[in-house]
């Protein structure tokens, strides 16, 4: 019984728990395009998380490449 409680109490914040879980899932996803995957993983480490700056840049690069 104590295990679940320990998980909840130990977490610095639930958002961090969720981010760690998300990072794990993205890292394990071999079907994601590498540029998008790497950019997103980089964004997960950023302080301004919701800006998704690296992911937007990667999308822009791919977009230019695709449209060219």
């Amino acid at each position: 019984m104590g295990d679940n409680l320990a998980v909840v109490k130990k977490a610095e914040s639930p958002s961090q728990l969720a981010l760690a879980e998300l990072q794990k899932r993205v890292e394990e996803d071999t079907d994601l395009p590498a540029a998008i995957k790497d950019a997103f993983l980089e964004d997960l480490k950023s302080a301004s998380l919701a800006a998704l700056a690296n992911l937007r840049t990667a999308l822009g690069n791919e977009d230019n490449h695709g449209a060219a």
Partner: protein, 793 residues
């Protein structure tokens, strides 16, 4: 920081000018019968800390806080809470001159669950799974993560919009090219098909073949030169232009996809707005923030109360951040509206141009269909730009389905008119130039659109995968959190219902919608919704345990805020369970300030005994319109028996009654804690008559209690008084004297002092046959060490 006092005026049952209520270091217990204004104290606490009471959270019968909060006697309502940090008292409602830790305390209060009222007890248990998830959202504390999810959702939405636009362009280009080349939908549209068309037009025009770029350039020059030599027929040019226009115009029904997407986005936005915790639109909050920040306002422009601009801007920013989902949905909706209006606008221009051309050559009959369609598209543009309702968009989509589905018939008429104009050679040459334009310019442009579409689709799929991971990661995290919550709730439930074998509830996050939490409980081997097996009181305590577990975990995460407010939440449970609830609060929430309101005298008495002097106790006896709740000294039977001052002020009948109730309570506690065998009763509850004799025998037998045995004899000797006075309605055979009643009261008081620990507020309990101790061990009866006995001997 701890609460110190509450001031309420003209609010619910509290009239104007009512005195403030002090709140003790431990908290506040309010006791009184129904209708004496107890719950108005809770309303006041919520109004002071959260602006309004949860009493009307569901807007029952259309009554909201604004309508229902004012005292019937009128007057501006006021509720202000005060709190103390070492050395200073601050107004927690206005936060005037409050330091940052006090402001932070209030911010945590605003996002915490700390008030439980009777009508909320079953809400968590009975609510649909999606609502149960929503009720826990603030507890999950995933706002930071939600911003990431919202940003990802925004990117997915933008990618879908771009993809829809490219799909439309690709379809438009493909349809026009297929028509001009003369191939069916199931034939591949590529360079080979375009080349075949070039060779065909060259052959018809008798200009030979052209396989290489150089050959094509030569044929192009030849055709253009010959065409320039033929006299220009103005009508012919216009007809060719008209034909070209119609070849480019897609059927208007194509825009149905775009409108369908708009409906989806509108629904997503409305759903996000409905889910938003905030009542104020984000635009309004943003405008308010700018106004206060730019002008450094020290007074609220709406309510004219003084404000701290820095703190207010910070609070507004926090609220705006919470609305990020709404913002993302609104941004996606606006972007799509703009794109759709622009795409349709281009189309309308083509329609209008086609209409005027058709009118010139074929009269109104054929042209009017195009005119009407242009008018319909204008209406659609207006609706899209003005943000029309979902119903209006549905009307327009229905109208779109009845529009022109193909231009083939009219293009055939144009071709016929061109041929009739005797311009076949000109047509042959124009077709050659058109075919060469297709292979050199338009097909590469189409290929570029197609490549862009493929790339955009891949990006959208990748973004959807990321959004899916984010959703599943949140659900997995929430499952971990609710597992912890359920474990703690089960622990509390077992505390209240020890050994009843019906606890073990579980919460499961389901893979449905935004979030959904199912609750189930095990009942003698079966796992079902608690409603199937639980009694009302068990459902109530289950709801209470989940609330307390959430409060405990929230307090552990945010130790700066430790307040618990319970309004009449033990009404359905019996005395034993109420006693254990009181003990649970004492043991697990001793670090909290607790405010409890109850109409239950036994629960109140138990709380007084357990909580001790760190609490303020308020006793309401009545209520009047002008005066509000009538407060008296908050005494219980414990006070009546144990306080010499109160004892001496009471009549002998009142004191005998108090002795009877107090004796029953104390003997029941001791019988249970010392494991005294009491004869079972099935038709009526236990009373002094069967509780005391076996307890007296046990006390006499205990060697370590020998020094106190005179108390047992004194109770034995005085107990007859209780049967003569106050216990029965019949008149006593012979009157008892006040002194005889007081002897019984004093003996009971001495037994209470000898068996109830003032440190841990518990009676002594059996450790083994020779040892009795209270919970903390400060009060103990145990065998003396051997050397002490020897010394005595």
């Amino acid at each position: 920081m701890r609460l110190s006092r509450l001031e309420i005026e003209a609010l619910r049952g509290i009239p104007k000018g009512w005195p403030s209520i002090p709140i003790g270091e431990g908290g506040l217990v309010v006791y009184g019968p129904n209708g004496t204004g107890k719950s108005s104290i809770i309303d006041g606490i919520e109004a002071a800390l959260e602006k309004e009471s949860s009493l009307y959270a569901e807007k029952r019968q259309g009554v909201n806080w604004e309508k229902g909060s004012e005292h019937v006697g009128g007057g501006p309502r006021r509720a202000e809470m005060f709190g103390i940090v070492p050395g200073n008292e601050y107004n927690l409602t206005t936060l005037k001159d409050a330091p940052s830790n006090v402001v932070q305390w209030k911010q945590i209060a605003a996002s915490s669950m700390f008030v439980l009222r009777r009508h909320m007890l079953l809400r968590f248990i009975l609510s649909p799974p999606a609502d149960r998830y929503s009720s826990l959202e603030s507890f999950f504390n995933l706002q930071h993560y939600a911003e990431l999810e919202a940003a990802l959702g925004g990117l997915v939405s933008s990618a879908k919009t771009v993809e829809a636009g490219l799909e439309l362009t690709e379809r438009q280009q493909a349809q026009a090219l297929r028509y001009r080349i003369g191939i069916e939908d199931n034939t591949t549209l590529d360079a080979a098909a375009a080349d075949a068309y070039v060779q065909k037009t060259l052959s018809v025009a008798k200009l030979g073949v052209a396989k290489t770029a150089e050959e094509r350039a030569a044929r192009k020059s030849a055709a253009a030169e010959e065409l320039a030599g033929i006299a220009v027929d103005q009508n012919l040019t216009q007809l060719a232009h008209l034909k070209g226009k119609l070849q480019e115009i897609l059927p208007s029904v194509t825009f149905d996809v775009m409108l369908g997407r708009l409906v989806d986005l509108q629904q997503a936005y409305e759903s996000a707005r409905a889910e938003s915790l905030s009542k104020a639109p984000v635009d309004f909050l943003t405008a308010a923030k700018s106004l206060i920040a730019d002008q450094n306002l020290t007074e609220c422009p709406v309510c004219e109360q003084s404000i701290n601009p820095g703190l207010t801007v910070a609070a507004l920013e926090s609220r705006i951040a919470k609305d990020v989902k709404v913002s993302a949905a609104l941004a996606a909706l606006r972007e799509h509206r703009k794109g759709a209006a622009s795409a349709i606008q281009t189309h309308v221009s083509s329609f209008k141009s086609a209409w005027s051309g058709l009118r010139k050559f074929f009269g109104d009959e054929l042209a009017d269909a195009y005119k009407n369609e242009a008018a319909l598209l204008d209406q659609i543009i207006a609706a899209v730009s003005d943000g029309a309702s979902i119903d209006r968009l549905a009307e327009l989509r229905a109208a779109l389905k009845a529009t022109i589905s193909s231009h083939d018939q009219i293009i055939g008429k144009i071709d016929q008119r061109i041929v009739e104009s005797g311009a076949s050679r000109r047509t042959e040459l124009a077709n050659v130039l058109d075919a060469l334009k297709i292979i050199e310019v338009e097909l590469p442009a189409f290929d570029a659109t197609r490549a862009h579409l493929v790339s955009t689709r891949k990006q959208r799929e990748a973004l959807e995968r990321l959004a899916g991971h984010a959703l599943r990661a949140r659900r997995a995290t929430v499952q971990g959190i609710v597992n912890g919550l359920a474990d703690l709730a089960n622990e509390y439930y077992e505390f209240i219902h020890p050994g009843e074998e019906i606890s073990k509830s579980a919460l499961d996050v389901r893979d449905v919608g935004k979030g959904s939490v199912e609750i189930s409980t095990s009942f003698h081997g079966m796992t079902e919704h608690p409603l199937l097996h639980f009694s009302e009181s068990h459902l109530d305590t289950l709801g209470l345990c989940y609330f307390l577990a959430a409060r405990r975990l929230e307090a552990d995460a945010n130790p700066a805020f430790k307040l618990l407010v319970l309004d009449d939440v033990v009404h359905s449970v019996d005395a034993d369970h109420r006693d254990r609830i009181a003990r649970l609060l004492k043991e697990k929430f001793s670090d909290h300030q607790i405010v409890i309101v109850t109409h239950d005298s036994i629960f109140y008495q138990r709380l007084r005994a357990l909580f001790g002097t760190k609490y303020e106790y308020v006793y309401f006896t009545n209520w009047s319109l002008e005066g509000g709740p009538v407060r008296i000294q908050a005494s219980t039977d414990i006070d009546r028996v144990t306080s010499t001052e109160i004892r001496n002020a009471m009549s002998q009948d009142e004191l005998a009654g108090a002795c009877g109730r107090f004796g029953e309570w104390l003997f029941m506690q001791l019988d249970e804690r010392l494991q005294v065998a009491v004869q079972a009763r099935f038709s009526r509850p236990h009373d002094l008559g069967n509780l005391w004799p076996p307890l007296a025998a046990k006390l006499r037998k205990q060697k370590a209690f020998e020094e106190k045995k005179d108390i047992v004899e004194r109770i034995d000797a005085s107990q007859w008084v209780r049967n003569k006075v106050g216990a029965h309605y019949n008149e006593p055979e012979s009157p008892v004297t006040p002194a005889e009643v007081r002897q019984l009261a004093e003996a009971l008081n001495d037994l209470f002092a000898a068996t109830f620990c003032q440190v841990c507020a518990s009676t002594i309990a059996k450790v083994d046959d020779k040892t009795w101790k209270c919970d903390c061990g400060a009060l103990a009866y145990e065998p003396k060490p051997a050397n002490a006995e020897a010394a005595e001997a």
